[in-house]
């Protein structure tokens, strides 16, 4: 984790906690990138997803506060439980918080929302954790 000065440690903890909750809830792994992406945000999010250790089971949230853009991309397996409709719901929730100036709170609640939307019955022989 970068020691970012822009978000306070408390806000970073908030986001990390939300990621933990969402991962426990859904079995998917969530990655959040906050900052200006290089190039097109969607392509950047895709590349970031591809760079993760388990891209199929992952979702990436890219938040660009300078361009005010938000991207959520899901891996192939993750998209089964976390469909585009759920992602749209999360973007709506997050952008409304961002518009009110609450960056970390919006990210945290959006991640938790994604985790809840992606909840599915555990099949012990498929979900390894």
């Amino acid at each position: 984790m970068l020691d970012g000065e822009v978000l306070t440690p408390r806000q970073q903890d908030e986001i990390n906690r939300a990621i933990d909750i969402a991962q426990r809830e859904s079995g998917l792994s969530f990655t959040v990138y906050v900052g200006p992406p290089t190039g097109d945000p969607r392509a950047f999010a895709r590349k970031l997803l591809a760079a993760l250790p388990d891209p199929e089971q992952s979702a990436v949230v890219v938040v660009d506060p300078t361009q005010r853009r938000l991207e959520i991309v899901t891996g192939r397996v993750a998209a089964r439980n976390l469909d585009d409709r759920a992602c749209m719901l999360a973007t709506a929730s997050m952008t409304s918080a961002f518009a009110a100036g609450d960056l970390s709170g919006g990210i945290a609640s959006g991640i938790v929302l994604l985790g809840e939307q992606a909840r599915h019955p555990r099949s012990l022989h498929l979900d390894n954790p």
């Binding site: 990138y33 906050v34 895709r46 250790p53 853009r69 959520i72 192939r76 952008t95």
Partner: protein, 142 residues
């Protein structure tokens, strides 16, 4: 028409002058009435001491207030200086990108590692064989 405007203007000017005169007169009147209080009579047994030198006057009425001003300003702004830049919704993002929930050695697509270390060119195979292209997602602006 022009005459009307000139008349109107002169009326305003006269009123302004009258107001200024009233304020000035009232101020001077009060000062004049109070002037006996400023008269330097020496009372019995008083000891005014030496006057201040120019340097002392400057120190007391100039340097000390300015120093106090600076001290208080510093005390007010010190916490935010110590905290560093913070995210403000109207000023964009000032600082390095933050990544949450990713492995420590993740290489960002920009080509730099998370620790800001060596720049690594993204392998061409990575971009072509995007397994995530079959996944979903959503995007939004705010």
């Amino acid at each position: 028409m022009v005459g009307d405007r000139v008349d109107y203007r002169s009326a305003v000017t006269i009123r302004t002058v009258l107001r200024a005169a009233a304020v000035t007169g009232a101020t001077f009147g009060v000062v004049l009435l109070g002037s006996p209080a400023f008269a330097a009579h020496r009372d019995d047994g008083d000891d005014p001491g030496k006057g201040l030198s120019a340097l002392e006057t400057l120190l007391i009425f100039g340097v000390i207030p300015v120093a106090l001003f600076l001290l208080i300003a510093l005390l007010v702004s010190a916490p935010s200086i110590a905290r560093g830049p913070r995210y403000r919704a109207d000023r964009g993002w000032q600082g390095p990108p933050l990544v949450f929930g990713a492995p420590r050695d993740l290489q960002l697509p920009s080509g730099s590692t998370m620790s800001g270390g060596r720049a690594i060119e993204a392998a061409p195979g990575d971009s072509t064989s995007e397994p995530a292209s079959e996944g979903g997602g959503a995007s939004a602006r705010w």
